[in-house]
Amino acid sequence: MKIGAIAGITFKEAKRDRILYLLFFFAAVGIVASRVLAVLTVGDRIKIIKDVGLASISIFGVLMAILIGTGLVYKEIDKKTIYTLLSKPLHRAEFILGKFLGLVLTLFVMTAAMTVIFLAIVYAHTLKVEAGLLVAVVYIFLELVLITAVAILFSSFSTPILSSLFALGFYLIGHLSWGLELILKKMQPGTGRSMVRALFMILPDLENFNFRTEVVHGLPIPPGIPLSAFFYGVCYTAFILGLAVLIFRRRDFI
């Protein structure tokens, strides 16, 4: 109930943010422009439409999660609204979870709206509703949920600008960390290899959520992979949120 109230107010606040609509506009332009891009391309045009469309949903969704998520907790502290909230019988963990769920709800609505535009563009080209594309969208959304948790974690102790940079760093590292796996395969056993392995284990691997290639090219998705990616996402999100709560619980609001 309390978490729901915080989530509700967060949703109301987030949907008033102009940046959300600006990013949505650019995402829509990106999705629609994929059709123009396809016309200029030699080869399978529908693949270009699907690829650019999914990439737009992913990139603009991540920007929404970071730019709105990093300001949410900070704004409450900066404007001192948190004073009245925390004087009520509301645990700090409930506050963090409410903020998280409110933003996740906002992103769900936005992702759904972008997906509708995307499916409409695909339908205009193929005259088919391609439900299979939703697999990629679901995992993009799962990635957004994790990025939201990361944005809230940084927002709980840092300013929006720094938090945005940290969260963006997390996103970039998350998409490049698979390179460490390649390096590991080529390294000789020893201290260096152990260190790289440890780094690989700690760093996020956001490529786990990337099913775009398989969906766009109609490749089979190995069984078990979506399920393990789902658990990876849930566990990593829970871990990050736990960390945010841990930091937030002991924080003094001067």
Binding site: K12, E13, R16, T81, T84, F253
Partner: protein, 305 residues
């Protein structure tokens, strides 16, 4: 009577600055607020008033000491259920209307829908915002926001109301209304703990006060015990007589136009002056004995500390 608030040996320091330097804000303060009383918490800027309130509300964690609210640890849910708080310069979600804003806070207490609606209507009436209930808070004046904040503090019908500068920024009429509301709380059996820079207001409505200076409580007690009824001096205004008439009678004699103003510390001399005015056919305009005020106590305490 039980203690609504009991603070013992509360200490808090902050590490501030680029090269962190520890600054001790609360240096072991202790005081208690009895159930059902209006308690004024005074101190100059930077004395530690807001830090004390933040500790009480669980916004910051004390380095040492204990805080109890109605005998419960201050961070316990039961203590929070009994508490209502209005911060200084309240900022709220300005896109909400007053009704939505109060409904949100009611949800934090898990009030059932019927009870929630009844309570919101009653509170809007209490703070005089019934007609502005459907306006977004961003269209409110400062005084209206303060009233909305007060309504928010009362949404759970708390036994203890903590108000940080509730009268700041209000016009005289608004101040009187808020003062009346605070007095009504007492009649309803609520305990009120509040800070204010406007000492006359504190003097008017508080039962007891504590004065904090430099992170230490330097005075605590009943208002009647602290402020004596003793006359400090008497101000006499006379017309129709030259100032020289009163030479050597008052500690300070000044004249403006036809009027002479005297400040007399010795009460026995007041009768003498009144007799003189009568004999010389002058006119006594006013005679006002000035008793000690809370402001005198406050200024004296702060200056000496």
């Amino acid at each position: 009577m039980a203690d609504a608030i009991k603070i013992e040996n509360l200490k808090k320091s902050f590490r501030l600055g680029f090269i962190p330097k520890t600054r001790e804000i609360l240096k072991g303060i202790s005081f208690s607020v009895k159930e059902g009383e209006i308690f004024g918490y005074l101190g100059p800027n930077g004395a530690g008033k807001t830090t004390t309130i933040k500790c009480l509300l669980g916004l910051i964690f004390p380095d040492a000491g204990t805080i109890e609210i109605f005998g419960q640890p201050h961070l316990s849910t039961r203590a929070r259920q009994a508490l209502g708080f209005l911060p200084e310069n309240p900022y709220f979600y300005d896109y909400l209307t007053a009704s939505e804003f109060l409904a949100f806070y009611a949800d934090l207490f898990g009030l059932p829908r019927d009870e929630k609606e009844k309570r919101i209507a009653r509170l809007l009436k209490l703070v005089g915002l019934e007609r502005a209930a459907d306006l977004p808070l961003r269209k409110y004046s400062r005084g209206m926001l303060q009233r909305a904040g007060l309504a928010q503090a009362l949404i759970n019908d708390p036994k203890l109301v903590v108000l940080d500068e509730p009268l700041g920024g209000m016009d005289p009429l608004g101040r009187k209304e808020i003062r009346d509301i605070i007095v009504r709380f007492k009649d309803e059996g609520k305990t009120v703990f509040f800070t204010s820079h406007i000492l006359q207001d504190i003097e008017m409505i508080c039962d007891r006060v504590a004065i904090i200076v430099g992170g230490r409580i330097v005075k605590e007690g009943g208002l009647r015990d602290l402020v004596s009824e003793k006359v400090l001096f008497t101000e006499v205004t006379v017309s129709g007589l030259p100032p020289q008439t009163f030479a050597g009678l008052g500690e300070s004699v000044s004249a403006r136009g036809d009027r002479v103003f005297l400040k007399v510390y010795d009460e026995a001399r007041v009768d003498e002056i009144v007799g003189l005015i009568h004999d010389r056919k002058g006119r006594l305009i006013s005679l006002s004995p000035r008793t000690e005020t809370l402001e005198d106590i406050f200024v004296d305490t702060v200056t000496r500390t």
